[in-house]
Symmetry: D3
Subunit: 242 residues, 6 copies
């Protein structure tokens, strides 16, 4: 039987922590931790929208993800100094933005843009899922702020879905939830799942890293993901009731 | 009931065409068409591998995807002139490379690199799936070439899996196979699935564009994808028996 | 006596093929072949003109030339990935644009821009000449399209000149027409000539690669070029009478 | 008389906090706060040195400074997305590196490089001084780590100077210490001073923002800076005695 | 006692030369030499101001500094070809601009921008100080030109300060004025000082290159700098009385 | 009859000046003027050659051309700040390099590289021709230097050809030599010709700007170009006999 490095049961999340208003500046600043993974998520509510969106009556949600150079055990080079953003960074930024757009009714948002920044302060696997989970809280905070400024009329009408994200994977033939870097790097299959409160899917990104996977394994992974996402959403909600 | 724009039944592929040796230069050049979508896929067998791979005894498969400016109805700007590669381009390039790595036994490949180039000559939806499907044929051709050059000893030991890819989606509450641009742009859910001959999954990328999707819908989509991929693999194989 | 690798006589063109409407999208898409050299030329008719041109009542013709990475025997790196366009690419793009502007009456074109894209699908010498020759056909097709859209009132008044281009050079002391890569790389002198139907010059770009050339040699080369261009223009015209 | 916005006396520092090992990864990670200004400083000890330094027997200290997009009240654009690092960022990165090189005996360091990363998590004036002050602690921690790894033989021989930095300025004709953003933006003169334990200068960067300054004002500012730096060095030292 | 390489006394400037109207184009073109250091300074008076400045009624002064590749003994690579401007170039450009803004009353300048270009034709130390000293003359010439064009109403009201800059440093325990490259590279302390006619400071940038410096040394260096700047301002003024 | 703006006869050069050793640094520094056009040409003799050239026994000549921002009446933006080199700059850099390679016997040069820098200090038409003409002198000076350093054994064996370049064009139906900007901008045909002492051609670049040109006009232009180049070569030679 497979014993996880941190003694968690296969269907157990790491220690999750969500701290709202971590920065004293800005309308929405959330520090989210999935174990040792720490991401600072901010949401900027902006009345300036992209050109192609003007006059449509609809808003937009975009996102930029980045890692600090020493978020990792080995220092990685800064993309600003390299003069270009890498493929992985773009891919994750786009995933975060797509996921959060699914949480928002863009028509009700009106011609406003929300810019989500996810900066990984420490990386131990699952940074994209932590980013999405934290960003949803920041997004909500930015809407609460916008409501106070009378920029929108109702938070819940804009925020049509609650979403959270978690990674699942198959390690040593065992389906496990919320993989740290150590498990991630040896997983045969690796999947990131974004779900809603009602258990529907927003995004499924599954990759056969070492071995292909079949329908039965897929089903097992999605069941685990659902369990994880439901727990994460409780923690998201609890952060508003501190 | 939903009638498709091109009168196909929901589970029907577009007209698929695979032309090997389309260019007279190069070890592997494949022109693949999924209806009006046309992608030129080449595979370059290179004895030069990335630095981090040297001395590991293992090879690598990488990929670059790009669209010609007038592959589309509206001209898009060249990324070379913009001075940077866009997020979408990176995302697709990475998907193609990951998928094809799942087809290859990197240890048996030895310290060689295969570079897959997918250039979209005409785009009408499904370019990433056409790219993967065509690239598998080009990859095989490059291995046949390498075998002739005695750079590898056996094509089938290197090429451990046959793979193909197809898009599926939900349009007007109907699950459909192989979406052209027109359907793609109005799909509620959009999924790209890469599968093996034995019906296992290599990649699943599902996105709720307009509406989230549930387990039942997912299962229906994956069944369609399996049907499409199996047919595509027959066409791939037929291209070698001309 | 010098025998050419492909047994052509010194004053003979390679097999030339011009296919109009090669892509089903776009107002003008031409696949031109000079032997193994294949270039896809498109022309985009755009009502948006450069800033400095606004209010002048005159239009503009611009061009972008690029090679696919496996257009060549050895793979060349993508300029988009390098983050910058190379000097050779710029030089050829500018030559194509200048040549086609000489074909067009910019005043009669009015405040419209035509963007010529020349993408080399296969390169075996003479790509810039094939590009210009094919681009003229695409340019004409875009004007035919614009006339149908009532964006211009008369094709022939805008298209004041018919032009074609061919390379000539001195190989083994022999003046030859339309050099493939193999001859190009060993030519002492290499010249690209753009001419009009009436035999006037639009561009002459002659370079002493290995040995300088004198007036007599120049005259012989220009005579060859004239013969080649006149034949190319017949083929251009024939492509409209299919 | 001038009353400061936060009721400090003119020669009083903001609340200073230095937290070592803020990240659980890396050899040296320090979170430093000067009031609301928060900078994460890390030091990476690297056996790889720049080319021009190889074979000289001497080491090097370099630095990269950057601000998170929402470190500020208004979101600033990411330099990675802009594709280039701004002048201000370069200027501060170079100041930090020069200052810390003055703290280190590069010969005793041997052919090793220390890379200092200063990422501003929240910006309220004085970010470059906070960076230098925190970076010195991180630098020391990286040397303690290197000693444990037997990469250097003695921490104190490498770390020849203790340094700290503080801003001083003239606001409303009053010389003040450690200016927050609010004072910084209205200062007539603004100066950043880097000093050693023995009260010597490492760097003086004084700028007449609104009004030029004379020798008497300079002397008053430098006296204030000395007081501030001495207090900062006590806090640096205290952080090692927790 | 320390003998300087060029036999100057410690408080002596190199041979200074200021040639106005060096180029026949442009409103202001000044070739300034500090010994072998030669900088071409131009000032462009521009009615187009930066966006953030529009509507404020105030003008702006900006600057770009660059070195020719063979300004130096060893050829340095062109920043244009590297595709990015280096940190040193940015730092100096910013220093020149800040210094000259201190010379100008931006309100009286009105919504106009002056762009200072400083191109180092030959570099032998002190290029930033030569740039500032020459740029002040070019700036004045551009204002004289603007007055003639009735773009401003009075030169002296715009040009509120005369400024010049000089480097000072400690070499072999001796404080010296106006260091050539040879002294600069072995200086323990290196300082660039920008001053006004009335002896006030605009910028002080002092760096402990090899050894830290104390208050007494600072005072001695600033005294030298004042002497040098006053002499430079006489030469600036003389250039207008040729 | 056409009267030139500067009263020259149609076949007359502008006032030409060649100053060797203009910079006191570097092995070869030449300031060349064609009337108001001033270009600083340097040649750097480098034992480091491009990778693809190593082991061939042959050397290389390369070139970089650039204009100062205020070389022109209107300020042009710096390519370093734009982050990319423009097409015109590349085109001219390549022309200069090709032309000078024709002057050099690369085999006799051995595995050395000569880097030609041409920086336009003032631009009034004909900058590429002035660059080539001045660069030949700089190239010779760098070979004289290399001979003194015993890096080559004989200057004249390396420098197999003397070359110079001049522009010719048709203005108001009149063929004219050495066009200033004013004539250049209204020329119907514009041609740059690089020739050798023996009257052979190195490069011919002719462009129909406004009107196409015929063989008779071409011949007349080339005759003028020959006259101009022969005169320029006398001035080149005279510069060595000062």
């Amino acid at each position: 039987m497979y014993i996880r490095g941190d003694d968690r049961s296969p269907d157990q999340l790491r220690h999750i922590k969500i701290i709202r208003h971590w920065q004293s500046v800005g309308e929405a600043s959330v520090l989210v931790s999935f174990g040792k993974t720490k991401v600072l998520c901010t949401a900027t509510f902006d009345s300036e929208i992209p050109k192609w969106s003007k006059g449509t009556g609809k808003g937009w949600v975009t996102s930029e993800y980045e890692m600090l150079p020493r978020a990792t055990w080995q220092r990685t080079k800064r993309e600003s100094r390299l003069g270009k953003v890498g493929g992985r960074t773009y891919e994750i930024s786009r995933l975060i933005a797509r996921s959060l757009r699914a949480a928002v009714n863009l028509k009700v948002l009106g011609e406003n843009q929300i810019v989500i920044d996810c900066d990984v302060l420490q990386a131990d696997g699952g940074t994209r899922c932590a980013s999405i989970t934290g960003a949803w809280v920041a997004l909500k905070d930015s809407l609460i702020w916008a409501k106070k400024q009378s920029l929108i009329s109702n938070v819940d009408e804009v925020l049509q879905n609650q979403i959270a994200a978690v990674s699942v994977g198959i390690v040593n033939q065992t389906a496990v939830l919320d993989l740290p870097y150590d498990e991630d790097s040896k997983a045969q299959t690796d999947m990131n799942v974004v779900m809603t409160k009602s258990g529907e899917f927003v995004e499924i990104q599954g990759t056969a890293e070492g071995a292909t996977f079949n329908q039965a394994e897929l089903n097992e992974l999605l069941k685990l993901a659902n369990k994880g996402c439901q727990e994460l959403m409780k923690i998201q909600n609890a952060s508003f009731n501190v």
